[in-house]
Symmetry: C2
Subunit: 219 residues, 2 copies
Amino acid sequence: MVTRTTFDQALKSLQQDILRMGSLVEEAIARAVESLAKQDEAMAQKVIDGDAIIDELELEIDDTCMKLIATQQPMAKDLRRIATGFKIITDLERIADHAVDIAKIAKRIANQPLIKPLIDIPRMAQLAQKMVKEALDAYVREDVDLAHRMAKDDDQVDSLHNQVFRELLVYMMEDPRTITQATYLLFVSRYLERIADHATNIGEGVIYLVTGERKELND
Amino acid sequence: MVTRTTFDQALKSLQQDILRMGSLVEEAIARAVESLAKQDEAMAQKVIDGDAIIDELELEIDDTCMKLIATQQPMAKDLRRIATGFKIITDLERIADHAVDIAKIAKRIANQPLIKPLIDIPRMAQLAQKMVKEALDAYVREDVDLAHRMAKDDDQVDSLHNQVFRELLVYMMEDPRTITQATYLLFVSRYLERIADHATNIGEGVIYLVTGERKELND
C-alpha cells in the first residue's frame, strides 16, 4: 500500500537527484568558461569527460520519474511535480551539452593568444549559472516569485550577447587574422544565451507546476 | 471504466497530434531556409508568426499526455509510449525555435546581395527535415530499424556543417565585407546541425520505447 509519506519521500529523493544533476551542470558551465578564459586545456577536457556522468544521471532520474508514475499513480499537482522534473532534466542535459560545446572551443583555441581578454563572456556565464541555480531552487521550493526574478536576468544575458556579438564583428573587420577565433567566441556567447533560455524554460515549468497555468517568462 | 480500446484510441489520437505538430515543424524548417535562399522576407515572417501555433500545440499535447497518465494509469510500454511522446514534443518545439532563428536571419539579410548562392545549406535543411519526418514515423510505427537508418543521415549533416564552416571562414578572410553575413550563415548551418541532433534524440526515444534500453545513436 502506497502511503502519502512514501510518496513524499520518493518525491524528495527525486528532487535531491535533480539538484545533484543541477550542481554538476552549474559546475560544468563555470569550468567550461574558466577553461576558455584561462586557456586551460586540461580543465576543458574534464568538462568534456564529465558529461557522461550528467547523461547517466539524466537517464536514472528519467527512470525514477517513470517508476514513480507507474507505482504511485499520482494525480493533479503531484503528477505535475513529476512531469515538471521529467522536463527539467531535459533542459539540464541540453545545458550540459552547451558547456561541452564551450569546452571543445576552449581546447581548440587554448594554444593561440586570445584576441582580447574575456570579460563579458565570464559575466554571462556567471549570470547563466545563477539562473540555473535559482530555477532549480524555485522548482524544489515551488517558488513562483523566484522563478520570475530569475527570468529577469535573461534580459541581461541577451543584452551582453548582443554587445559581444557587435564587438567581435568589429574585431574581425579590423583584423582578418582574428576571424577564426572571433567566430568561436561568437558561438560561445550564443551557447551561454541558450543556457539562460533553458533556465527560463525551467522557470516556466515551475509556474505551471504551482499554478497549473502556462505562462511565458520574458518574450 | 477504462477499456483497452479507449486507451488505444486515446494513444492513436495523441500520435496524430504529434504527427500534426511534426508536419508544421518540418514545414517551418523548409520555409525558413527557402526564405533565406530566395531572400523572401514575407515568407520568413510567416515562419516567425507560425511559431505561436506550434507552441500552442505543444502545450495541448502536453496536457493530453498528463490527462492520459492521470486517467488511464498506463504501465510499462504504454507508459513509455506516452513519456516518449511527452519528450518528443520538447524536441519538436526546439526544432521550431531553430527554424525561427533561421527565419530571423533570413529577414536580416533579405535586402543585401547574398555573398554566395546557397547550395549546402538547403541540402542540410532537406536532410534535417527528412530526419524529423522519419524519426516521427519511427515513433508511431515503433520501428527501431527506421530510427537507426534516420540517425545515419546525421553524419552527413555534420560533415556538410563542417564544410560550410570552413568555406565561410575563407570568404570572411578573403573579403572582410562578407563578415557580417557569413557570420549569420554560420549560425544557420549550426542551427540545422542542431535540428538533426534533435531528430536523433527522437530516434533514441523510439529505441527506448520499443526495447526499454537506452542507446546512443551516433556520437
